[in-house]
């Protein structure tokens, strides 16, 4: 599903150039659950952002579903992203001015789904995430765990082929963290490809494969579980 060839990303200011990713080569198969680990500043989030088409690499190739996308314009990346990729962030990133229902509904507005279909889809997802009873609440009225469930609901509401999770349990206690990991596992079992950045070795165990990054390079890849298409 995803293939990178010599993927490179650096950040340049007037005086300093920092290489975040350096000639990264990797492949992620459809349906796989991959965890990316490494120390702070090793390029994990940068790699996730590039895979998620939130940014363009400086060098190398990125293939998404057999299409080379590294030179795509912002408009093209947005169009590709909105139908295919869901995001879960460490700090939830819910819009405070919208209710739980409205936050989850938001991606559906951008794929121009009809009002009736949107209602049906959002209700389904909220029920599944067991957060339907809070539909009319605002994010600041929810606990951390509840907020992350809403974020997961938003990420899956468009039925994306790929979910990217950037330290999804980073701001949660262990119980809530486990709950989120269980959700991700369920989604993966249903066929959604998941790429997750994590600091937690125990959470990395949920993945099929763990990729270790260091200073912008892949240093190891460990198979944790067998993966069958």
């Amino acid at each position: 599903m995803i293939k990178t060839v010599d993927l490179t990303k650096f950040y340049r200011t007037d005086e300093v150039e920092t290489t975040a990713l350096n000639n990264v080569n990797m492949e992620i198969t459809k349906g796989e659950f991959v965890a990316i680990m490494g120390p702070s500043g090793c390029g994990k989030s940068t790699l996730l952002n590039l895979i998620g088409l939130l940014d363009n690499p400086n060098k190398g190739e990125l293939h998404f579903n057999d299409t080379e996308v590294s030179k795509h314009t912002e408009r093209m990346r947005t169009n590709l992203r909105k139908s295919n990729i869901g995001f879960i962030f460490q700090s939830f990133n819910l819009i405070d001015e919208l209710t739980v229902y409205e936050n989850v509904e938001l991606p559906l507005l951008y794929i121009k789904m009809s009002s009736a279909d949107r209602k049906k889809r959002v209700t389904e997802v909220l029920d599944r995430m067991k957060i339907a009873h809070r539909a009319k609440h605002f994010p600041q009225q929810l606990s951390g765990g509840q907020q992350q469930r809403v974020a997961v609901a938003r990420a899956v509401v468009t039925k994306p082929k790929l979910i990217l999770a950037d330290e999804p349990t980073g701001n949660l206690d262990s119980a809530n963290g486990e709950e989120v990991m269980d959700l991700l596992t369920q989604l993966n079992e249903e066929g959604t490809t998941i790429v997750m950045v994590t600091h937690s070795p125990s959470h990395a165990e949920y993945a099929h494969r763990v990729i270790q990054l260091f200073d912008g390079h892949i240093v190891t890849e460990n198979i944790k579980k067998e993966f069958h298409l």
Partner: protein, 783 residues
Amino acid sequence: MFKNYLKIALRNLMRNKVFSVINIIGMAIGLTCGILLSLWIFDEIIYDKFHENGENIYRILENQSYSSQNMQVAVTPGPLAESIKNDFPEIVYATRYSQGLTQVFKVKEKKITVTNGASADEDFFKMFSFPIIKGSQTPLSEINSIVLTEDTATKIFGDTEAIGQHVSIYGLDLQVTAIVKNVPRNSHISFNHLIPFQIMADRNPNLDNWGSNSIHTYIQLAKNTSFEQMSEKIKMYLKEKAEELSSELYLQPLTDTYLHSVGLVADYGGMGDFRYIVLFSIIVLFIIVISSVNFISLSTARYTKRAKEVGLRKVVGSQRSQLIWQFLGESMLLLLIALGAALVLVELCLPAFNNIAAKELSLMYLLNPAMLFGLIVFVVFIGFLTGIYPAFLLSSFKPVTALKGSQISGSKGSLFRKIMVVTQWSLSIILILSTLMISKQLQFMKNKKLGFEKEQIVYTNIRGFNEIDALKRELLKYSGVESVSSTSALPHNIMNSTSGSVWEGKNDEDTFLVHYNIVDYDFIETFKIEMAEGRSFSQELSDDTNFGFILNQEAIKQMGIEDPIGKQYSIWGMEGQIVGVMKDFHFKPLHNPIEPMLFLLLKDYLEILVVRIDTADPVNTISYLEETMAKFDPERKHEFRFFDERYNVMYNSEQQMGTILRLFTGLAIFIACLGLFGLSTFMTQQRTKEIGIRKVMGADVPNIVVILSKEFTKWVVIANLIACPVAYFIINKLLQNFAYRIDMSYKVFGITVISSILIAIVTVSFQTIKAANSNPVKALKYE
């Protein structure tokens, strides 16, 4: 999607009440000022636009050349109207016209003084749209007719039918032939009653004289007649009628009459001035710019608060264009809320504004298609202008950086914000300086020595009264009466002028225009006009009625006479000598330089009684005067009014302009302060962490206040450096309109600069002191 945008816009407004209120109030005040001034401007520009034939109607004016000057004159000879209509087939109608007459009506046995009378020819009602409610459709066709407005008919006849009733004026029996609707307010032609012009012509032979300019002439051209060609044809018409007449005629469109007659000699009073339209339009522009700048500054300053939302929307699939529309929509929403508030404010302020501006403005003007269209276009334009920059800025965030939230420094757009604030304060300072200098000029005009004493003078109209000498003797018996005089015109706005002077030593090619006033023996003493040479009029010296003339210094200078006392002088066939030279005095508003003036002693045309009274007991003195008048003229009610109050009315429009200018300048400063307050709130929030660290390191409250205030103070100083030279240029231009003007005051500039900086410091101090006093622990926990 629209519902989503609307929800989030409204909820954002509620969550950030302080900024929302500042933004809305600032914009609402700006829009209120803009709407009020626009209503004023609209009211001025619609003058005379209601006439159906208006685009083909013109007033004929004269261009007169003299040795020392050229003059544009609003009055023309009496014979012109009929003659020019007969000689040019393109002229379909023509009428003589004069207004502002005060006449004594005799109705049955009662005498009623009626003001604002006018006289015109039969074509008048064919040309102008003054609807006839009742009576003849050609109401001035008979010489013994009179037309009344509906209010005048009610005033004179009450509920009785007025058509067919008889009224006596000047000893003539006139019949009411028509009632017309009251003349609308926005008409330079204004009357309460109208009589055939021939009645005036029969009473005054001068009105049949080609050499005497004393009435207004209006013509209506046939449709599609070329204005330029007609102007060329009539230019030298007077010379064709009489070789000695060298003035040129030219046409003034009816719709230009009200606003474009500044500087015309012998014109109607109460006319407008196109320069005020320009001035107020500029003020509207300034205030809207100041409000809009507020809006843009505050919106862009708070962009970091929306960064996360922008990033998230881009992540879940929003294109940049969709975000731009979203934020533009939010700007429009805020603007519409501000507009709603503004309309309420306008409605509340209109009574007071109408009082200041002496108008009857109404929000109903906004229903005029042109005004409505203008308002819609304006709102959309301002909404777009104020919303587009924040929309572009906010939508430009990369999702990756945006979602990092607190790592965005808030410096994006900061240069733009500085430019906006400097612009805003520059405009405000220009407004303040202009207002202060104009106020000083008005004060100067009010206090300037006129060359005569206007205080303690009361007057009343005595047109048609014959026993002036006996009346004067009786009035002088009262201790509170210092002197009594009579005249044809009060000395504050003498418009009559003549070019018919002949003097000893005059060359044939010399042309000289002199203003004149008909007075009695006591006029000069009553007004305490000083003599430069010779003497005032004296009853003991028979020379004065045979004739003695008194001229002012400017007249003597322009005539080029040396040792004028005793020199021969004649006018209109009256020959005599110059017996005295008055020191120059201001007999016109101070916009005008002093011109030549002649005083004539004649028993006729003495229509105003003037009394100098003691200040000890004015109330009882005036009662005595009115009682005495009642004994001498029992059939008419005489009220005595103070001359200085009438004098001050001349500067009413300047006073109004000054008040309006002060009001709107104050509001502009308030809006600018609102903006600065909002920005200072935002920027102190941005620097919370820095403040916390500085306090931990040992900085005290004054130290932190200075650090925070420095930047704002710098912007205001820069604004002053830009504004002062621009204001200097503008003020110079404004003061050129006055013949007598103040000097540019550097003290005013200095005070304004210092005040603006102090205002800015005080405005931001609310937030800077609060921030400086905050607990550093809380500040450092912020991260």
